[in-house]
Structure formats: C-alpha cells, structure tokens
Amino acid sequence: MNIIVCVKQVIDPEAPPRSFKIDAGGTRAEMQGAPPVIDPYGEFAVEAALKVKEAAGNGKITALSLGTGLLREVVKKPLAMGADALILLEDAAFAGGDGWSTASALAAAIRKTGEYDLILCGREASDTNAGQTGPGIAAILGLPCVTLVRRIDVAGDTAKVERVTSAGYEVVEVPLPAVMTVSNEIGEPRYPTIKGIMAAKKIEPVVWKPADIGIEPSQVGASGRRLKMNRLFQPVHEGKCELASGETPEEVAANLAARLREAKIF
C-alpha cells in the first residue's frame, strides 16, 4: 500500500484575525508574529493516510510538499505524525502558482515516485480555499477521485469511501489507484509522539526541482498560472457593535433583549 499525501506549509490560519496583514504589493499575506504551520486541512489527510496504513497492516506513506522557504520543522510534521518519507518540490520556480501549476507539478512528482495506490489531499487549503488540487491531480493522472472523504476502507484494489454531503454522507466504491480529498470529519489528527519526532529528525527529505520531475520551469509556479490575481484585499467592516450595559450579567441580558425587541429584531 503506497500512499502519497499532499500537504502544504501555510500562514497560521488559527492565528488571531487581527494579526493578518497583506503586504504593500497587495499580493502576499502574512500572520504577523505567528510562524507558518502545516495546513490543518492537510493534517486531516495525513491522519487518513495513517488510518489506512494501520488498517492494512503495512505500507508506505510519502508526504509531498511544494513551495519555497519550506521550514524543515514545519514540513516534517507529517513524518513526526507517522509518515515514512518526505519529498519537497522546493525551488524559486514553484512560487506563486495557482491550482493549475500546483496540480501539474504535484502530478509530475507523483508520477516520478512510480508506485502509488492512494493519493490524499486536504479538502482544500486554508490559504486559497479552492479545493482544486486533488481533483486536478486526478484529472492530470487520469485517476478516479472522491472529494470530501470522511472514512476510507480499502479491500484489495477497491476502496469503500464515505463522502460528506450537506445532508449526511454518501457511500462510494472506487477502484485504486485513486485520489481522495479528506474532510475534517475523518477525525482529529494525532499529535506527534516523542518517538515520532525523533524518527522525523533522522529522515532527510528528498528535494526535487522542476527538471527532476521532467517539467519546464515555465509550466510551474507563477509562470504556469492560468488564473490571474488582480487584487488581494481585506474587506472593511464598517458596522459598529452596540453593546448592552447594566449592573449585573442578568440586567445586561435583559437590556439586550429589550433593545432587540425595540429594533424589531424578533
């Protein structure tokens, strides 16, 4: 069972919204004072991979990350959680990509790894919130794909999968190899153990440049984009919150109710 998990390094989405800033060029965002993290959505994919490997009793999990300025202590988190290998697509040429250029590079790298049964991604990334990378990889590699997965049971060369819907879930059967995007309903990602952290320290990531995966630098990163970003901005909330007052919490609550009634809110 060879499982590939695509995870990315992102600015910390759980940092307080007030530390979120966009640079003067209006293209890049940062969380001031908060270090980057492994995408929490991607961690669910890592958790899913570990569950599948445990159920199979054997297998190899390879984490795959693309970007620039990848901090080893960040991108090694999947290893610390229990993944076996780490491949980094790290080169200036990979920077500033969109769904197309990212999926193209990841698909080329996955092809180069040779053997794979399952390719897992988060349901979306916490920065772009697009949810295209998984389906894109599937389309490029000609593989079936199930999105928003909350449970995976592999039996032979088929997987029975539960897919989250707004009203409940669907049960889907899909032949392997397949691509799946994993939703948070898969269960809380496990914390790295001390043993896992020690093991991760000893694993050296494999670093590939565009030439290593047989792809032209012009096809990846910013130059491989098909979608142009014209503007990145923070919406302004002009609304002011009217706070109810009073001597005790009970009085404040009663005053709020009275004010809402007065404003015909209920």
């Binding site: 600015i11 989405p13 759980e14 919204p17 007030r18 979120f20 966009i22 769904g99 197309w100 349901r123 916490s126 920065d127 919130n129 697009a130 295209q132 389906p135 894109g136 389309a139 079936p144 794909c145 029975k160 989250v164 819907t165 707004s166 009203a167 409940g168 049960v171 889907v172 059967e173 899909v174 032949p175 397949a178 309903e185 098909r226 979608l227 142009k228 014209n230 503007r231 990145l232 901005f233 923070q234 919406p235 609304g239 919150c241 009217e242 706070l243 109810a244 919490p249 009970e250 009085e251 609550a253 009663a254 709020l256 109710a257 009275a258 809402l260 009634r261 404003a263 809110i265 209920f266």
Partner: protein, 332 residues
C-alpha cells in the same frame, strides 16, 4: 476564444427540483449576460429532468440545454464530467457558473481541468470588467481574512458561486425560450466510482440553512449540555441551533449543524452567536446574516467586529436571563 458567447449556468437538481443555487446562478448570470449583451443558457443534466426547463426560463434563462439519461439519475463524477465536457464543447459559453455545493465542489474543478481552463471556487461577487469585457471573479481567501479578484484569459471563464451570495430574479413564468436536447452519449464502462448508498442524517426541527433565526454556540459552550440551553432559545424564536467547528469536532452536536467554510453557509435574518470567538472560517459561514448578535466574555473577540448588537459577559449567566426576557417580551 472569439467564438465563445453567452453565460451558461449549471442548473443543479436534487429530488426532481431545481435547487435555489441554480436560480441564484441564473440571477447573476442574467446580469452578466445583459452587460455583455449576450444570452443566458441553463444546463440541466439528470434523469427525467426536461420538465424543469420552465423553471429555468422563469429564473432568467433564454435557452435551456437538457441532457436526460437514466445514467445521470444520481450525481456521479465520471458521468457528469463527461456530459458537461460535451455540453460545454457544443454551447461554447464565455462564462460558466456552477454552485459551491456538494456537487459543484466536486464537479467544477474536474471539469475545469478537463477543459484546460482555470476555475475560481466560491465566488461572492461577479462582474464584467467594462474595460476588458472579462469576468472579475471575487472570492474569499485565507479563510475569509481577505478577498481576491481573479480573471482568466481563457473561455469558458469558470466559477462556482457561494450559496446565498447572489440574488435570484423574481420568477417570471411568462418567459419562454428554446429547449435544446443533447444526448449524454455515456459509456457505462467509463464510470469508475460507484454510488452505493446515500445516507440522510436527519436533524430534528428546522434545518439551519432554512431557518430565519439561528442560535449558534462555540467552543466556550463546553459540552452537549450547554447546547440544550441554546436549543431552548432557538425553540422560542422558532429557529435552529448551529455551531462553529469545535463543538462539532468534539461531538457535542452533529457535523451537519456546523456553520463555516467547512460546514454550512447560511444567511438567516437573525444570528445569535454564543461563546463564539469569530474565527474567519466561521464568519465565512454566517456573515450573510442580516443581524448578528454576539454574547462573549472576551471584549476583544473578533465576533464583535461583525456583530450589530452584543453583550460582553459569561454566557452561562447571560443566556438564561436573555432567554427569560425574550420569553416575557414575546408573551407580552
């Protein structure tokens, strides 16, 4: 590219009905087509769906393409991607609008990669750039901390739209148009994923996406027992109970009541956020509410930046008194 024309709207269907998102798509599609001076086409794919064309015309379509095939009875990605690729190849729209729904999230990116064009998911605003005639595609990014405006040089310019972000037209049943049938031409052997079962997890009472009033709790509620108090207020206001992500992840409430980027996107008249700090990912799901009322003990909580009314205080003390007073006022 120059031969592309018009706006196509994917008319999503469930249980034999055109979904509200389809009418929202037609509403914005009509606006965009009018500013381009072009037509709006609706695409209906499914089994036994031809009867829904009238609804699409009433919602703003000039022409309706119908793909009717028993193999399209349930949404199945391989079949639907193949059908949509065929339809788009024939219709050649300049803009293609789908919904950010269970189906759209799955179908749109696959179709885009098949067609060789980009897609912008979860748009909250769409407009034609008067200078270039291209579609300006605005979507929240960074969990709602920011928005980005995208354009594409390739046709179709593909987007999905956030539920309730666009306004449907007032249905006009006198509107008529041409219905064009397209054969699905499906080969069952190319369908790789198989739907085995569809499970509906029923929630008692009103569904949060349909409720006028939603009372939602966050991590600070602390457990399932606390949600019983929210339930009481919701019942009183004939609303539904929702939650941010932590109560769902902790199993205090079912996942189906989660509000936010990874849950439901709702736009009720009144949203009462109890012990919810207001992470961007949560606000993405409720910022469409007409009035937000926040109860939180942290005066710096982000939710107060979005709320119209609020109380700074411990919900355990505030909520019972609030509920009691609401009850009195409603009785009186």
């Amino acid at each position: 590219m120059s031969e592309s024309s018009g706006v196509a709207v994917y008319g999503e269907i469930a249980d034999g009905k055109l979904l509200p998102i389809a009418l929202e798509g037609l509403g914005i599609g009509r606006k965009l087509a009018d500013s381009l001076g072009q037509e709006v086409a609706a695409v209906l794919a499914g089994s036994d769906v031809a009867g829904l064309a009238a609804g699409a015309f009433a919602g703003g379509a000039d022409r309706v393409y119908v793909v009717d095939d028993p193999l399209l009875k349930d949404y199945q990605p391989d079949a639907y991607v193949s059908v949509m690729e065929k339809v788009i190849g024939q219709v050649k729209p300049r803009v293609l609008i789908m919904g950010q729904t269970d189906v759209g999230r799955d179908l749109a990116p696959r179709l885009a990669f098949r067609l060789g064009v980009p897609v912008t998911m979860d748009c909250v605003e769409l407009a034609i750039d008067p200078a270039s005639g291209r579609l300006l595609q605005t979507k929240p990014v960074y969990g709602g901390n920011a928005q980005a405006v995208f354009t594409s040089d390739a046709d179709p310019q593909m987007v999905t739209i956030r539920t309730k972000a666009m306004t449907p037209l007032q249905p006009d049943n006198s509107r008529k148009g041409e219905v064009v049938k397209i054969a699905a031409g499906l080969d069952a052997s190319t369908i790789r994923t198989k739907l085995v079962d569809r499970v509906i997890e029923d929630v008692a009472g009103i569904r949060i996406e349909d409720a006028d009033v939603v009372v939602a709790g966050g991590r600070g509620i602390g457990g399932a027992e606390g949600f019983a108090q929210l339930e009481e207020l919701a019942r009183l206001l004939r609303g539904a109970v929702g939650a941010s992500r932590p109560p769902c992840d902790n199993g205090w409430v079912p996942d189906t009541v989660q509000i936010g980027l990874t849950g439901k996107i709702i736009a009720p008249e009144l949203y009462i956020a109890v012990a919810i700090s207001g992470s961007s990912q949560h606000l993405s799901g409720c910022s469409g509410a007409k009035t937000i009322v926040a109860i939180n003990k942290d005066p710096e909580a982000n939710i107060f930046r979005q709320a119209r009314f609020g109380v700074v205080g411990d919900w355990k003390k505030v909520l019972p008194a609030f509920t009691a007073r609401v009850k009195e006022l409603m009785a009186g």
